[in-house]
């Protein structure tokens, strides 16, 4: 939370968080040097400590900011009013693209796994995500895309675990590969809970999003 009274302070806060995100996205937490962060922004060390008394505080601010953009982007996907399972698939591609292209998102996810593991932050954040997604999975059961039987919470926990796992087993540095691995993960996961009659449609739905996402990470294919 920022205080509206700190006008001048606010102006330094944003750039500090962005610079920190850049470092946290590409280096392990322990190797990030605050001097490098300060050097990137035109701010004194004192001014930085005014906002962020520790590296941990700065990291938490990065996580907060990443969660904010994540929530905003997710709200955009929800506003599209697709079906539940389509929404879950779209969300996974949205997260993947943010993870591949935005330092802030990537840093936030890295940090949730590193410092989030030892404080309550990681658990709380994952619980929130799982609760929100379970709601959507419930909708997908009502719509008949997810077969009756599995607990919606189990389904989304599997999806979230797979994504987090993919961040380790695949390579965020090779966006093409990462997206193809995401598609493979979906094609292996879907038969586990999707309605068999809808499988053909759903795997095409996934494939078509992979193609669009690939176009977004390789600029020569991007029509824009």
């Amino acid at each position: 939370m920022t205080h509206p009274t700190d006008r001048r302070a606010d102006s330094a806060r944003g750039p500090l968080v962005r610079a920190a995100a850049h470092h946290f996205a590409h280096k392990p937490y322990a190797l990030v040097n605050l001097d490098d962060v300060v050097a990137e922004v035109n701010v004194s060390r004192g001014a930085m400590y005014f906002h962020f008394p520790s590296k941990h505080a700065l990291a938490r601010a990065v996580i907060d900011e990443a969660e904010r953009i994540g929530r905003e982007a997710a709200a955009g996907v929800l506003a599209n009013k697709l079906s539940g399972l389509e929404t879950l698939i779209d969300l996974s591609y949205l997260v993947a693209l943010l993870d591949l292209r935005e330092d802030l998102a990537r840093a936030g996810l890295h940090l949730l796994e590193s410092i989030g593991r030892v404080d309550e932050l990681g658990a709380r954040s994952l619980r929130e995500v799982v609760n929100a997604l379970a709601q959507i999975a419930r909708q997908a059961i009502d719509e008949g895309d997810i077969a009756e039987g599995p607990d919606p919470e189990d389904v989304v926990r599997l999806l979230v675990s797979t994504y987090i796992g993919l961040r380790h087993t695949s390579d965020l540095g090779i966006p093409r590969q990462f997206l193809l691995d995401l598609e493979k993960a979906w094609s292996l996961l879907l038969p586990g809970f999707a309605n068999p009659e809808r499988m053909r449609y759903l795997s095409q739905f996934v494939h078509r999003r992979t193609v669009v996402a690939l176009g977004k990470v390789s600029p020569q294919r991007d029509p824009a």
Binding site: G76, A79, N80, D90, Y93, L97, G144, F205, R208
Partner: protein, 291 residues
Amino acid sequence: MRQSRSEVTRGKIIDAAVEMFNDGGYSSTGLGDIVERTGMTKGALYHHFNSKEALAVAIIDQASGILLTTFQGISRSSAPALESMIHGVLVVAELANTDKLARMGAVLLRIFAESSESSARNYGVRISEMGRQAQRAQLEEDLRGDIDAQAAGEFIVTAMLGTELISSAVSGGEDVLERVTRTWEFVLPAIASQQSLPYLREFLARESLRRGQSMPPPMRRPANYRPWFQSCSVRSWNVARANGSSSRISADLLIRARTSEPSACINSTSWFAYLRTTETGDSSVGTSQKS
């Protein structure tokens, strides 16, 4: 974001005007009635809008803005462009029918269609946005490679505006989603590439599910199925004749269809299909393969 006081007042006037145009109709509501409803002075209202038409234009612009933002939001998603076009048109049609301001905007847009620069501008924005998406759809190989993407975009806007107009005339907009879905069923075979068509049909069939209704059974078509309106002229003529009230328009379209390029032929014949289904209530046309 904080609104200035002047913006708040402007918003209040617009809200009141939408209410009153809605209740009493545009032509029989005067600026004086709106002054009365808002409780502000005549001078204050005239400061914002110096005529009833200026107020109407403001409503049209604001309504179009809402619809355009919604459509663009859907286009920005991770979906291929043609999916966004199909889904976006339906979401916007629903919004234009449920949101009071958007609905009034559509009504006023029609009233001013021939006389106001604002209508031309607003239709123009829609057409160019749809054309942009159609171009993307062509790069993604969902839109047929041998048609002009910009023209396809314009045709979709045209067909959907006509559909919304008829829906609002016939049912007060109650059945707009059904009708827009049906129009898409006719438009898709004309514009979609062979390899994407089956998938896109299924994507369209799921629209009812997305609105919280159960899925209709999948459409089954014989392997040699060809949309009937692709065999252009003779059949269209029969449809036109069988369908007394629309025969004049149909004949006109038919002449154009015969004299211009094939894409125009597709345009006009899908309109026949459309007119026939709407006027005879015969929903089996084109969907007769539904089991």
